[in-house]
Symmetry: C2
Subunit: 367 residues, 2 copies
């Protein structure tokens, strides 16, 4: 019992592929397969694999629950953002999964893993940002955990919401022929990320009154500030998700990882294929100028826009658009589900297939 | 907008105390105060500050929810434990909070933050351990998140359970005169931690049949293996928590941070004081021999035993003991709540006050 080096078969690192070698998507697929083996049960209506789990407690309405971590160095740098905005961002990322289910937020819990050198005031400001954003979303802070870490700051947020029975927006409810509809514009968050990686930062508001630079400087700065805001201050499309449920839509997901990846999750879960119509993708205004031809990578592969994508029966589209509430992010048709499997990108102006853009995952990159 | 170094007031680290300087307990107190300001609401029956939050969804039973992170380098080293056991441990730590509320486990979610060099098989084994332990506790794995991290492995587990309305074991339900009762024996986990820090490891079971060392070696090894097991393979006292509720107890918490800290949480929440009777504390067998006089530090200040401590009206003790089910961890009276505030440690054999042992927190230590 006194051998300090464990024998083979004991402990970690007994060989095999690393996460870097297989990538995040494959890791998530394998972890989900293990989770699913332990996830059956008639009260667990939607288990691992959708945006969030749906659970029906004894005698109650549907409960939706999801968990999302953001990690310093992977999802943000401290120089990009102030702590209060970081807390708001952590909550928004998690709430986006509730939006994607059409749920109403109820509770959140937060785990903070912070190095011992962290400033107390910074951590309290993070918690303050989470609390303020939670209040705005009608959601209560119900607890969490705190731990030291000899490493980067980790903020792991759990959100719990409610749903009327049988009214979840599920990834597995798409049918060939359905039209793919997105909320809002795409690619702004990726453009903002690019600016951040180039060293640009959000402007600090003047403490009293507004600064008045020349108009042309202001216009360019406004566009940049908007993209930085899309990256740093995302909003979950909660009202849009609830409107989709109310208007009879059954299939949707959020655009946390970009249109290509997230439509792929819908086709995988629904057992069908999809085509995306390049000329119909609503790009964030101005990113053509910033990015040139790479606007396609940002709008389709970039992720973190936290818009929603829904699959809508073709004959119900007109009714949905007619009844879509003013004040919500507008809907845009970007493609359709088809029979078969896989994803095509088409430019219908010339009927040509377009190569799929690379998918930008900031996690588990090769060094 | 192109200044790479943010101006004052923007970003992190604008001064003030660090976490190391104020300590985990004070950080948690301040974070909880912020959370509570955002945690009101009539559906949130028990908010931040107890072992777990209790929530009453529309039309349903009480929902209990808690979140617990374990962090490599703080809570475990990879050389101590195999990945499957680590997954089981992560779930047990979280389930202990449900046990402390008297809840029945229903769901769990898991966030894994793993460095890119992690072996896929190790991460799957962690997930497998969580899933197996969840199944044994009647709990379904409902999802989670995965992220890269340039740092240590983090496993953050969320557990959700159910409660009959009004039947939670709360920290704020103690009254002066109540007797303090613990389940099981204390100090084994701290003894196991000490062995691990000295380089001892759990024995690897022989692949076929049992090894047969001499009897005296076996007896010593058995005690060490039991202490290592208390540290590495804790079990949540779920059946005991549910029995306490069923037998009419209203006030309890778990012993995640040791008797001194966790009784202090009950007295703080209940607005009273406590005395602990040293001669009555049920120490893990054999730790007097291993630790000498320091057995007190392990049994009262050590933490991670994940036993429960309850406050029971004195006149109800006999009934509780008489009706306590066989097969559950035995109950031991270790002290009582009194009027006032603060905590006394008494040895009733000579009626003397004993100095409180130091509280062992492995988090946010000074380097």
């Amino acid at each position: 019992m006194d051998d300090a080096s464990p024998p083979p078969g004991h402990g970690f690192d007994t060989g095999g592929l690393t996460v870097q070698e297989v990538g995040e998507t494959e890791l998530l697929r394998r972890l989900t397969a293990v989770a699913r083996r332990h996830g059956d049960g008639d009260r667990l209506v939607v288990a691992s694999g959708d945006d969030a789990a749906v659970w029906r407690p004894p005698g109650g309405a549907g409960i939706v629950i999801s968990q999302d971590a953001i990690v310093e160095g992977e999802d943000f740098l401290r120089s990009w953002i102030d702590p209060e905005a970081l807390g708001r961002r952590a909550l928004a990322v998690a709430l986006s999964d509730l939006a994607a289910m059409g749920a109403r937020p109820a509770l959140c819990l937060v785990t903070l893993c912070a190095p011992g050198t962290s400033r107390i005031d910074d951590l309290l400001a993070i918690q303050e940002g989470i609390g303020a954003a939670a209040s705005e979303a009608g959601c209560r802070v119900a607890g969490g955990d705190v731990s030291a870490i000899a490493g980067p700051l980790v903020i792991d947020v759990v959100v719990v919401g409610t749903l009327d029975p049988g009214r979840a927006l599920r990834r597995d409810r798409g049918r060939p022929g359905d039209l793919l509809v997105v909320t809002g514009c795409l690619g702004g968050a990726a453009a903002g990320l690019r600016l951040l990686l180039e060293g640009r930062r959000e402007p600090v508001p003047a403490p009293h009154g507004r600064a008045h630079p020349p108009a042309e400087v202001l216009a360019a700065a406004d566009a940049e500030a908007r993209w930085l805001g899309r990256q740093l201050r995302p909003r979950a499309r909660l009202a849009e998700g609830q409107a989709l449920v109310r208007l009879g839509v059954a299939c949707a997901g959020d655009l946390s990882d970009g249109l290509i990846v997230d439509v792929g999750r819908i086709t995988d879960a629904s057992g069908c294929a999809a085509e995306i119509w390049l000329e119909s993708v609503p790009a964030e205004p101005g990113i053509h100028t910033l990015l040139g031809a790479a606007w396609v990578d940002a709008a389709l592969g970039g992720g973190e826009d936290f818009e929603l994508v829904a699959a809508v029966a073709a004959e119900r589209l007109d009714g949905l658009l007619a009844r879509w509430p003013g004040g919500l992010a507008p809907l845009h048709v970007v493609g359709r589900l088809t029979a078969g499997s896989g994803l095509r990108l088409l430019d219908r102006r010339d009927g040509q297939d377009v190569p799929l853009p690379p998918v930008a995952s900031r996690h588990f990159r090769q060094p």
